[in-house]
Amino acid sequence: MDFLELIQSNLLTPIVLFFLFGIITARIKSDLKIPDAISEFLPIYLLAAIGLHGGIEMRNTGFTAMLAPMLVAIALSLLFTLNHYQILRRLGKFNIFDSYALASTYGAVGAVTFSVGISFLDNQGVSSEGYLAAILAVLEPLAFILAIFLTNMAVSKQLEEKKKSFGSMESKIDINSGETRSNLKQVLHESITGKAIVILLGSIVIGYIIGENGFSSISIVFDELFTGAIVIFLIEMGIIAGQRLGDIREVGLFLTSFAIIIPTFNGIIGVLVATILGLSVGGSVMFGLLLASASFIAAPAVLRHTIPQAKPSLYITSALGITFPYNIIVLLPIMFTLSSFIHNSESINLFHHVTNFLT
């Protein structure tokens, strides 16, 4: 199956079609909507399913295989976040707050995108390494913590400079930097106890404990219903993305390009690096997808509190309205083609050399 066929066959899956359907639904201003309780429950369900699945696989493979990919993913995620910031601040001329918010939105990961990726591979009859769910859990809060830390640093520096000019404001600034420190601690706590991470980590642990055997009694709910559940969720995601499309003017040309080029760049790097690290065809795609994805559910919840000065319309609209559709419709097949190619062709020899050299 060549790339065009693949993008076509990917476009014509229920998941993508129902997502496009949701977008159209919103554009024609239909009153169709998935009730809140259902669309709040579905991400919890999807993460539980992903976690259980990952945990069960990790029981078979052990932890050591996970170490290198995990560390590399962390390093790349932090590097990418800093890179995004430079691009946004220097080239994009965004203010410091919007730059950090956007940088971390794209440095963070998207659990919904991950779910769609799992389903996409399933459809292609390809599997991926179970520990990727654990990497998802670890990456989720990382970019935010970095961005918040850096924002706070920057704000403190600004304040200190002001302090020098207006000696009288000292007391107030002290209060502020006190607030800043407690803020960071709070954010750390909130990030780690955020519902996405908690259900994901919990399910990984439970999957690890129960294994295939224990899973059999609940596999119909947490395995067989998975794709159907994603389809329903993507109707709602499509509707919300469609409502956001109108705001793209606000996002501007620079950010629109950013929202497409950066994921492509990050994702392709991810696929290559994962292949070097020895991940499977599917695992490399998922690794790339982790780095390519932007966060649009966790991001607002964290950023509104920690960088309230940043405009949510920027980071939500670009992540949900542009990057998410692009990732699941276009980039996913691109990365899959790439991963298949470098895993199967002779070019693999090159990578073997690199790997041998590195170890």
Binding site: D36, S39, E40, Q243, R304
Partner: protein, 101 residues
Amino acid sequence: MKFYPTKLLTITCEILAKKNILDIFTKYSVTGYTSYEVEGRGSRGLRGQGLENEKNIKVEVVISEEKLHDVVEEIARTMFTDFAIMLYVSEIGILRTEKFS
């Protein structure tokens, strides 16, 4: 039945601002409140549909006149520029003054 005059402060704001508001309440030892989800339209457009984090809430608090001013002042100062928020005050009568601070 005698009703003692006191104040009701009503805040309508985006859901992610709730934490900040409750923190301000705690700071001024305002212990009681009532809140619920709403949808609404204001200067920041239509809110309360779509993503969970985009919802609006209302927070209502029965509060003494003195605390009212501190709380409103702090909310206005720290939150008005960054959050979708609106507030108003009304006069109400309650049965027992000691219950509200």
